[in-house]
Structures are given as structure tokens and as C-alpha cells.
């Protein structure tokens, strides 16, 4: 446990010691700020009975943050260590492979959640200005952050796998971005696809991040969604562990 915590701390420290970490924080801050002005514009434009969190995740900004940011966070985790050689130093200490994978994933997830904190500030500002209790409504906010955590976990575990596969950070980022965008494209039109009734449509409906986020943002925690993200994350972390172990088979 001690070793695990030391590793997580190192991961977080690494994120803040690098320029990349601050660039990520800055970009998320900028895009959240833009989305705030966007939402204000919409609210001024006329009646809209959607919850604000829903307006937010349905905007392009949300995906513009989520999809590119996760690969950038995880691209360092294994690829950079392999490139600089510290991977060898790490793997010759009495630390288990699984421990390393979990620590890297936890570090990435914590950093990811940290970058989303400004969203709370956005909602708080809106609530302050409009005196409308719907903003920052506890259940919806909790749902939205739970959804973010779950989606982030899945995307970050994909990123860990991509990073473990290569020693180039660029390739790692591209690979995990592709996986994320792939999932997102399937998520785009779930209702239309499901209406067709074919197998692909139903699968698309099941894995649709849009639909999941819709439920979460309304404060509905559907166990099917939770199971989907948790099992997906476990699968990708398992694959990552196998890739890390693979040096022992070569």
C-alpha cells in the first residue's frame, strides 16, 4: 500500500512538474470558460427546460475537453518512462506489475478529476448570478461528476494500454485518442440506431456515452451504465497489466 501511494504521488508530481500538465489544466479551464459564455448565451436566447449540466455535456465543448485531454494525460504514463529508461529502474524494484499499472491509472484519474474542478466554479457562478437553485443542484452535480469519473476511467484505462504498448508518447496519444473517438462515434446517434432494431443498433445504444451522460446529468445512476464503465475499465487495465508483463515472455 505504501509503495502504491508513493507511486501515485510520483505520478501526480510528474504531471505537475511537466509543462504538459499545466497546458492541460489551462486548456480545460479555457474551454470550460467558453462553455460558460455559450450557456449564458443560450439561456438569454429563450426558454430551455434542459438541466444546465445536460446543456453543457451536449455542447461540443464537453467532448472537446474529454476526448483529447484523456490521451494527453495518459500518454506519459508508460511511454515516457520507457523512452527515458526509468521504466527499467522502476521494474527492477520489488514492485508488482499490477501495482504499477493501478498506481499509474489512479494518478491519471486524480489528475483528470482535478482538471474538472473548474466546472463546479462555473455552476457556482451561474447559480450566484441567476439565483436559480437548479444550478449546482446536488444530485445532478453528483451524477454528472460520477459520470465524468466513470467515462474518464474508461478513456484513461484505454490511454494506459496505448501508452504501455509503445515508447513514443505521440503514438500513445494518437492510439488512445482513436479508441476514444471510436467509442464516441458509436455513441453519436443511439436513438436512431436503436430504432432500427438491429444488433449493431442495440449495442450502440448500450455503449452510447451520450445516453449515459444524459442519465447521469439528470441525477439518474443506472447500474447498467456503471457496470459498463467499470467492466470496460477493468478490461483495459487487465490488458495493460498483460502488456507490462509481456517483457517476461519475450
Amino acid at each position: 500500500m505504501n509503495v502504491y501511494l508513493a507511486l501515485v504521488r510520483r505520478e501526480l508530481g510528474g504531471a505537475f512538474n511537466s509543462l504538459t500538465g499545466f497546458v492541460v489544466v489551462a486548456v480545460v479551464l479555457l474551454l470550460t470558460g467558453y462553455s460558460l459564455t455559450d450557456i449564458i448565451g443560450k439561456l438569454n436566447g429563450g426558454a430551455d427546460d434542459r438541466p444546465v449540466v445536460e446543456m453543457f455535456y451536449q455542447s461540443a465543448y464537453f467532448w472537446l475537453i474529454l476526448l483529447p485531454v484523456t490521451p494527453v494525460i495518459t500518454m506519459r504514463s508508460f511511454a515516457a518512462e520507457k523512452a527515458t529508461g526509468t521504466y527499467e529502474a522502476l521494474m527492477t524494484t520489488p514492485v508488482g506489475d499490477l501495482q504499477v499499472v493501478l498506481a499509474k491509472f489512479t494518478g491519471a484519474l486524480l489528475f483528470f478529476l482535478l482538471t474538472w474542478l473548474p466546472l463546479l466554479a462555473v455552476l457556482a457562478v451561474l447559480r450566484q448570478v441567476t439565483k436559480e437553485p437548479a444550478f449546482l443542484e446536488p444530485r445532478a452535480t453528483f451524477g454528472a461528476f460520477l459520470g465524468l469519473t466513470l467515462m474518464g476511467s474508461l478513456l484513461l484505462s484505454m490511454g494506459c494500454l496505448a501508452s504501455a504498448l509503445t515508447r513514443s508518447q505521440i503514438i500513445a496519444a494518437m492510439l488512445s485518442f482513436l479508441m476514444g473517438v471510436g467509442l464516441w462515434v458509436v455513441s453519436l446517434r443511439p436513438e436512431a440506431a436503436a430504432a432500427d432494431g438491429d444488433v449493431f443498433g442495440r449495442v450502440a445504444d448500450h455503449v452510447s456515452m451520450m445516453r449515459h451522460m444524459g442519465d447521469f446529468a439528470r441525477g439518474v445512476v443506472d447500474s447498467r451504465h456503471v457496470v459498463f464503465y467499470v467492466s470496460g475499465t477493468v478490461l483495459f487495465l487487465f490488458l495493460t497489466t498483460r502488456v507490462v508483463e509481456s517483457r517476461k515472455w519475450k
Binding site: 510528474g14 512538474n17 526509468t86 527492477t92 520489488p94 517483457r247
Partner: protein, 319 residues
Amino acid sequence: MDDVPMIEVRDLTKRYPGRTAVDGLSFSVGRGEVVGFLGPNGAGKSTTMRILASFMPATSGTARVAGFDVFHQADEVRRRIGYMPENNPIHLDMRVREFLKFRARLKGLGWRRSRERVDTVLQQCGLMDVQRRIIGQLSKGFRQRVGLADALVHEPDLIILDEPTIGLDPHQIRAVRTLIKQLGERHTVLLSTHILSEVEMTCSRVLIMNRGRILAADTPQNLERHLSLDGQVVAEIAATPAAVREAFCDVPEIERMDLSAAEGEYTRLALTSKDGQDLRVVVSELVRANGWTLRELTRSKHSLEDIFVHLTKARKEDA
């Protein structure tokens, strides 16, 4: 436990696709030895070390560290090894003290113990003054010391250093060597290098490696002795070459004689003996008998460098 050798390697082989990096290697290292792995680039030194540090498995053969198998009991082995990989990879974005503490925790030291040990190794490696500096801003010599401190921090029985002095300037090399010598007093050390003077100075035993095999294993002094039997004797004598040739041509022990003009009135004479005898006495007696002046009389010793070139070249010609 004490009678178990620190390192025991038997028939170790590592094959990469299309290439055999280590080829049936067998050797053992006793406790308290400082052993140098010497060989040209690509001889299989790093691969052997990586296997010993249980970073990757061998294709066949066994390797044991302190009696533990490096593959099946990897954690036991790793706890006992302080390994500094090639090019000394360390986290350049961390501060010296922070890094060493992090590494101490990874190696299973508790909070209090890691603090004590970090203080000790900082002192031992002369890093006290830079402990709060960022590693990336330190000179290469200091970084190397940080790498050494990292290898030492959990008090391992065995220290494996892969090219510890590569890329350093002469002063830094000297400092690192002194440090390694000190380590040899309390730990078993296995280091690799392709710098010959380094093993001559720091190691009690040398393993000369080429193409994945050990060509010779002995103390540096013994290696020199064995191979200096065909040593040459060089003399500078104040006489004409013709006179010198005449005086020496009848000596039966001489196998080969080379004459050349030296500075001033002198002639430079280089003699090779037939069966490894020391020709210096013969030379001095003949010079005295002829009443010449002798300016120089030396027996050229083979340095480790000659031995190395000799052994690795012979191997190349075999292939």
C-alpha cells in the same frame, strides 16, 4: 547462507530474434568481490546485468543471486540488488532528496527508515549540498552520484552498475571510482565497462566478455602476468647499429631483434625472447662487456588493453 555465492550463473543464454546476445554464460561471484565485466559494445554485458536484476528472463540457463532464482524468486532478488541501469535513468524533474526518498519507498523501506537511509546515502555520495536541487539541473557527475545513491539506498547485498562512468569528465570519473572502491568494502559489486583502466583500478576480478561469452576471468594482475610472457625488452645503447647487431646476433635466447636509430648517437634495440625469459640481464651484461653506455632498459608489460585487444581479436578471427 554465507557459503552461497552472491551470483551464480550457469549456461545462461539470451536470444533475441536473429541474434544471440548471451551465449551459454557461466560464472560465479563470491561475497565481497568487486568484479568488472569488460567487453566491447554489444558483448552482452548489459543483457546479462538485466537478467541478473530480473528485469527480463533468460532464454535458457539459470542465474541465482544470493541463492534465489532471478526469475522465480524475482522479488527476493530485487530486494537484495541495487541496480543502476545503463545511462543512469533517473527522474530529472524531481529533487535529489525527493527522488531518493521515493526510490527508498519503492524498495520497501518504511517512512522513518527511508529518511535515515536517504540521509546516509546523501552523505556517502557527497550529495548533501545539492539535496534540494532539481536533478535535471545538476551536472552529469552529480547525476551519476544520485544514481549510485539510488542503488545503495536500501542497503543491498549486491550492487550492479552498468557503465557507471560513461560520459563523465576525468575528475568526475575519479570521484565515481573512489566511491565504487569504497562500496567494495561493504558490498559485492558487479560493474560493467569498456574502459580498461577502470577495471584495473577498481576491480578484484575481471571477466572479459565478447559476443556473449566469457573469454577470460582472473584478477587484472594475473591476466597481465600470463600474457606478458612474450614481453619485449627495449634498450637504448650508445653504439652504431652494426656493432649492436654483431654483439647480439649470437645470443641463443633471442628470437627476434629490431634495430632503429634513436635520438643522438644511440641505437634503439628491441628484443623478443624465445621462451618468455627475461632478457634484461643478457642485455646489461653484453653492454658492460662492450663498454657501451646504456640509456634505457625496459621490459614492456602488456597492459590490460593489449590483453583485451588480443583476446577479442583472436575471437573475431575464429569466427
